[in-house]
């Protein structure tokens, strides 16, 4: 599907919502094994138990080369993946609060 920074995507197998932080163009983005959708709908498929590591609110997920980065804005049970490869949680930068 076509994505760009700011695109919101919904899982079709769980409650997960993400916002694209980084990435553009045609990306095969899945949650729980099923392609994510631009419009929210009732779960369309069963969650694959092998792809149910879950998503955590406010965490950032990225692929190995860092070309795609997603922010979880609603948590769910599925595993986020690009081209079938599960995304990793991006380590938080520990910046001191400046405001």
């Amino acid at each position: 599907m076509q994505i760009k920074a700011g695109t919101k995507l919904h899982s079709t197998v769980c409650d997960t919502d993400v916002m694209v932080i980084k990435g553009s163009g045609d990306v095969a983005l899945t949650c729980g094994g099923q392609e994510m959708a631009a419009a929210r709908s009732a779960p369309a498929a069963e969650l694959d138990p092998a792809l149910a590591s879950g998503t955590a609110m406010g965490k950032r997920y990225q692929n190995a080369d860092g070309s795609v980065e997603l922010l979880c804005i609603k948590p769910g049970k599925g595993t986020l993946a690009v081209d079938g490869v599960p995304l990793e949680i991006k380590a938080a930068k520990a910046l001191p609060s400046s405001d």
Partner: protein
């Protein structure tokens, strides 16, 4: 993208956690989110193009900021210290406007100037009665979230535009969601019309750190709130920190700052003696010096707590001087120093600070100042050292050109400020037949301290060189600052005229 995402996520995650405390009254994330949705519905129904706020910090500020975002209208807070005619000219520029004003300001707004005019209390009452259960937030990519008027020291105030993507870029790039512990509280004493007031709301809500509002700063009230609300984090401008330290010294008190973990400062040059005094006075506090501009959605460089402690009293002069820097650029922005011809300069070479990144708007209404590659000229002079620490040397426009030689007021001020008798000093350029421009110093002496003009000139001659010696030196009771601690150099020109 829409900045209301910040509030939505917080309200989805911990709706019953306290988000905000004002005059001892608590508001939860869920309550603020519901009120913001109600505000959005009313704003859309009103047909206004802007949402404006003329008043001190209150829960209405936070609700109006997010309500405007959810309604897809720019939030344009106004400086409540402006005169009535100045304010009314700005209100005209925002028409048709949904205006929330402090009760004492409401009668000063001309009839019919605002589409909707409510006092803060009326606004809170109007949105407390409940709104829609769901709200379809507009995701306009280019949408303007916040419009801030510059202080207008040169003509009519300019309207700086901060788009949703700039502000969200800043928050998502620098703050970890819900990273704050439930006992953390941040004391916000900067006004809502200042970028630091806006970024404080967005960052604190995203971190889920309770906001404690201090609408009118005074050192005594600041210290009292720190104690009463067990404040863990705070942001102050340099004059505020100076006044807090003076207050502690004068009253000889031992304020209860036991809960305070982190103190950030920015919004102007912090005099080195103040930082050093603060480091000694509050040994348990983590200090952060933030450098940012309105046009960059707040902080772009940061001198963190470890940098402060490492530099403080370090025998290596290159490390010790970092205390006078604004630290390193954030990982999410790039900083470059360029000369007058736009050529990129190397370490320790003084030039103009340029910045690029998602949070950089660099834009005024009708005028974009970034170049084709996204670089924004800050008009601040400075240099990067070999380790990447950024040192600032004042505004480019304040540079004095004496006989073809560029002189930064900051370098001369720094030398003079180190004299024991001097409390404050400002160096400006004044017209000279011989040099085109020459240096003039306005000096504030400490009470009961004395120093001669020749002595001051001699210090500069010894530590710098003869071209840096102020030709004119005058003593003055106090330097002219605006309410945010920004030195008004233009007013000083009149003093020497």
């Amino acid at each position: 993208m829409n900045i209301s995402l910040v509030l939505q996520m917080a309200a989805d995650t911990f709706p019953d956690r306290v988000a905000l405390t004002h005059n001892g009254v608590h508001y939860t994330y869920g309550q603020i989110h519901a009120a913001a949705m109600a505000a959005a519905a009313q704003i859309v129904n009103s047909g206004a193009d802007y949402v404006s706020f003329l008043g001190e910090s209150s829960p209405a500020t936070v609700i109006a900021l997010f309500g405007a975002a959810m309604a897809g209208r720019p939030f344009a807070p106004l400086n409540y210290r402006l005169t009535v005619p100045e304010t009314n000219r700005l209100i005209e520029r925002l028409a048709p406007v949904y205006l929330i004003a402090d009760a004492d300001k409401v009668p000063t707004v001309p009839q019919g100037a605002a589409k909707v005019l409510l006092s803060g209390d009326e606004f809170l009452a109007a949105v407390a009665s409940g709104g829609p259960a769901e709200w379809d937030v507009p995701q306009d990519e280019e949408g303007v979230a916040v419009q801030l008027f510059t202080s207008g020291t040169t003509g009519e105030p300019k309207a700086a535009l901060l788009r949703h993507q700039n502000l969200l870029g800043y928050v998502l790039g620098t703050v970890e969601f819900a990273a704050a512990e439930e006992d953390e509280a941040t004391l916000v004493s900067v006004p809502p019309y200042h970028i630091a007031g806006i970024s404080a709301i967005l960052s604190s809500i995203y971190a889920m750190r309770r906001i404690v509002q201090l609408p009118q700063f005074s050192p005594a009230e600041w210290l009292a709130q720190c104690s009463a609300q067990q404040v863990t984090n705070a942001f102050v401008v340099p004059t505020m920190l100076s006044r807090i330290i003076d207050h502690i010294d004068e009253t000889g008190g031992h304020p209860d700052l036991g809960a305070l973990r982190a103190l950030a400062f920015g919004g102007g040059k912090m005099p080195l003696p103040v930082v050093e005094r603060a480091l000694t006075l509050f040994p348990h506090v983590a200090f952060a010096n933030a450098y940012g501009l309105t046009e960059t959605s707040s902080t772009i460089a940061l001198l963190g707590p470890e940098d402060h402690r490492e530099a403080h009293g370090n025998p290596d002069p290159l490390i010790a001087r970092r205390l006078d820097s604004v630290g390193k650029p954030l990982p999410t922005v790039e900083v470059e120093i360029r000369d007058e011809d736009g050529k990129r300069l190397g370490p320790d070479q003084m030039g103009e600070v340029f910045v690029r990144g998602p949070q950089v708007s660099g834009e005024y209404q009708g005028r974009k100042l970034t170049d084709d590659d996204g670089w924004f000229p800050t008009r601040d002079a400075g240099f990067l050292d070999k380790d990447g620490f950024l040192f600032l040397a004042g505004r480019i426009d304040d540079v004095i050109v004496r006989g073809g030689e560029n002189i930064s007021p900051g370098e001369v001020e720094k030398v003079l400020r180190e004299h024991d008798a001097i409390q404050d000093v400002a160096v400006i350029g004044v017209p000279s037949i011989e040099w085109g421009e020459t240096l003039a110093a306005a000096v504030v002496c400490k009470p009961e301290a004395a120093v001669t003009i020749d002595e001051l000139k001699d210090i500069v001659r010894r530590q710098l060189r003869s071209s840096r010696v102020p030709e004119h030196v005058r003593f003055i009771d106090a330097l002219p600052y605006n309410e945010m601690g920004k030195l008004l150099r233009r007013n000083l020109k009149a003093f020497f005229a």
